[in-house]
């Protein structure tokens, strides 16, 4: 289904010059030069081959600031092909400013079709959420990652954490979670909740809420993670085992709300809280705008809003 370059027959790849003036920007198709894309593709292949392992890559400067999605953009720029349909979300929404900015970037530099529909997209670049609509095989989800190493806040040194990953020395992570329980009675990590991928590497799922963690497990879509500033790429191939760390007596659990979505009435999606006045008024709405709109259009909500 997808036309993304990763799935392409190598023969159909543009190997440099063919693409170069295919748009009016004066830059190569999707901004990055083909040499760079080739380098990143190699890293992506390695990442897919070793699920959850952080592959160092020669990250380039992008025309957006570091920390604003440069890693995800480099991955997207590398895998996207002319026939792809791109969706970009930030906080689950298509209309947040940074999502708009990145979607425009690719519309401008690659001239690809864009969509807000999760189903129609072949490549979805995301920050902080996994869409509520289940993904299908052939789709690629590209995550923007600020700090790729889940051990970073326990051990700031790269030289140390690399060893810890290699030796699966993850005891400290469990100690950290245990300390949460001792202090608060719960695991107090609510987003960027660490997962173990394919029974080996502990991985940072990027700052998605732990609500989304179960969606990573066995997902038919390919999940790619790009950290531009930290120059790391990692991946979860389709149908891979992804477990959130927990304890037997404190099993992993996700957030829940007493409220339902004000628009579509959903009682099972991640809800954003919207402050409606300065007297404590609050409503809750789906963070995934596409999902909410679909449900609303399908008349999921009985009464008018």
């Amino acid at each position: 289904m997808t036309n993304a370059a990763l799935y392409h027959n190598p023969d159909s790849q543009n190997d440099g010059q063919n693409d170069s003036q295919s748009n009016s920007t004066g830059y190569n198709f999707a901004y990055l030069d083909e040499q760079t894309k080739r380098m990143i593709r190699r890293c992506l292949l390695k990442a897919v081959a070793v699920p959850g392992y952080q592959v160092p890559f020669g990250g380039r400067e992008m025309p957006l600031p570091y920390g604003w999605g440069t890693g995800g953009m480099q991955v997207t720029a590398t895998i996207i092909g002319q026939d792809d349909v791109l969706k970009v979300i930030d906080q689950g929404a298509d209309d947040t400013t940074n999502a708009v900015s990145i979607r425009r970037f690719f519309a401008r530099t690659a001239g690809v079709a864009t969509t807000e529909s999760t189903r129609e997209a072949s490549v979805i670049q995301t920050r902080h959420r996994i869409p509520e609509t289940p993904l299908s095989h052939g789709q690629i989800l590209v995550y923007q990652v600020p700090i790729p190493d889940p051990l970073r806040f326990i051990e700031p040194r790269e030289t140390e954490t690399r060893k810890m990953h290699a030796l699966q020395e993850y005891g400290v992570m469990h100690v950290k979670l245990y300390e949460d329980i001792a202090r608060f009675g719960h695991i107090a990590t609510t987003y960027a909740y660490p997962v173990k991928v394919n029974g080996h590497y502990v991985m940072d799922p990027s700052p998605i809420p732990k609500f989304d963690n179960p969606k990573m497990h066995g997902n038919p879509a390919l999940q790619l993670f790009g950290a531009g500033r930290e120059k790391r790429i990692y991946a979860i191939p389709p149908f891979t085992r992804v477990e959130s760390l927990d304890f037997e007596d404190h099993p992993f659990e996700i957030q829940g709300w007493d409220q339902t979505c004000e628009f579509c009435g959903s009682d099972h999606s991640f809800l954003d809280e919207v402050v409606t006045d300065d007297e404590g008024g609050r409503i809750f709405i789906c963070s995934d705008t596409d999902y909410c709109n679909q449900r609303f259009a399908n008349g999921a909500r009985q009464e008018a809003v």
Binding site: N28, G67, F184, A188, Q255, E262, S287
Partner: protein, 400 residues
């Protein structure tokens, strides 16, 4: 009434046109030209070139104009342009010995061959605002008589080196071995390969040359105040033009492709010596595009501090800590990641809110359950037997 966060697209467009207007300022005043910036804001241009790691005064001036004079924004513009440029060749190592000197001073010797040449420096100006400039007048001072040519300036550290008083410049050059094999001829390039620790000195120097002047200055200062002290003397500081040469394979000999203005600093530092080796001074090195003397000095101090491990010193201070310095010296890395806090974090914040409300609710429940006199409310909130009661009260959706 709920107002959705819609209209991001329109808002962005409007913000951009407002920005253009603000950047231009009062249109009754003549517009600043790129040539004017290049000529009259030279030190700003130099900083943008140095940290943008692209030697192009015109584009650096353009970047400054486009960025309303914000150095980091201008550096960003230049870097994002640089990264798209093709690379043809690496230059032959530059010979700063052959520099056309504009400034050359040594704080280690009173006089030396070639002499002390002050050059165009702010060093001995009194920092008094010059109201003539405000009144739109130029200073009346005559241009310096240009008949005096600077003699050959042999390198100060070479005097010491010939006596064996200082380590040789190539001692422990410690190039990064990217492929794990023996030292490669080509220096590492962190703009093509990700930074890898421990980094060779070539990689460290590259990172420092691109690094933020303010950050390096503060680190350098910290070494002077005892955080990784390395007893520096400014052996030599020089500024001027140096030829850049390339040696294409098919030609077989080097050709000059142009001259660039650089600032260089050789720092002389405290000595080392062992049972088998006589004591000698050590070196720190700094080099930056343009007239960027402060940067070159700071870089030399930090370079020396980062050699701590190689020279057998204890790594106890931030300036000596390679991972700390290299991971945080780039101002695009840091400004990008700090400013990304402006991006929406609704989802993560909501996740924290949900947890915090729950914790507070449990706290209230515990408190009301404890109205009897026996419990000390100031004890730690999570004593041993509480988590199990919490489990029973759990209202969250359990994961299947």
């Amino acid at each position: 009434m709920y107002v959705a966060v819609k209209g991001g697209e329109k808002a962005i467009d409007q913000a951009h046109s407002w920005l253009d207007e603000t950047r231009r300022g009062d249109t009754s005043l003549p517009e600043l030209s790129v040539a004017q910036i290049r000529q009259q804001m030279g030190l700003a241009v130099d900083r943008v070139m140095a940290e943008g790691s692209l030697y192009d005064p015109e584009l650096a001036a353009l970047a400054l104009k486009q960025a309303s004079g914000d150095a980091i924004e201008a550096i960003f513009l230049l870097r994002a342009y640089r990264t798209t440029l093709p690379r043809f060749l690496a230059s032959v190592p530059m010979e700063t010995n052959t520099m056309a000197i504009q400034r050359r001073i040594s704080a280690a010797y009173k006089d030396l061959p070639g002499g002390q040449v002050l050059g165009p420096t702010y060093d001995y100006t009194h920092r008094l605002l010059d109201f003539t400039l405000l009144a739109n007048g130029e200073r009346g001072s005559a241009p310096p008589s240009g008949d005096e040519t600077v003699e050959d300036c042999p390198r100060v550290l070479d005097f010491l080196n010939s006596e064996g008083l200082i380590e040789s410049p190539l001692a422990n050059s410690g190039r990064t071995q990217s492929d794990g094999s023996a030292e490669s001829e080509t220096p590492a390039d962190l703009t093509r390969q990700p930074l890898d620790y421990p980094a060779g000195r070539d990689l460290r120097l590259q990172a420092l040359a691109r690094g933020d002047e303010g950050f390096l200055l503060a680190l350098a200062y910290s070494t002077q105040r005892g955080y990784g002290r390395n007893h520096p003397f400014a052996g030599e500081i020089r500024q001027g033009e140096v030829a850049v040469e390339i040696a294409p394979e098919e030609l077989g000999f080097p050709v000059i492709v142009g001259d660039i203005q650089v600032s260089e600093c050789d720092m002389i530092n405290q000595f080392i010596g062992t049972e088998t080796e006589a004591p000698r001074f050590t070196r720190g090195y700094g080099l930056a595009f343009g007239n960027s003397e402060r940067k070159a000095l700071a870089m030399a101090l930090v370079d020396r501090a980062l050699r701590a491990r190689e020279l057998g010193e204890d790594v106890v201070s931030p300036a000596q800590d390679e991972e700390f310095v290299l991971a945080h010296c780039d101002n695009l890395d840091s400004s990008g990641f700090v400013s990304h806090l402006k991006l929406p974090h609704y989802v993560d914040f909501q996740s924290e809110l949900v947890l915090l409300r729950r914790l507070r609710k449990e706290f209230e429940e515990r408190k009301s359950g404890r109205q009897g006199p026996k419990v000390n409310t100031t004890s730690k909130p999570g004593n041993q037997d509480e988590p199990s009661t919490d489990n029973e009260q759990r209202r969250e959706v359990k994961q299947a």
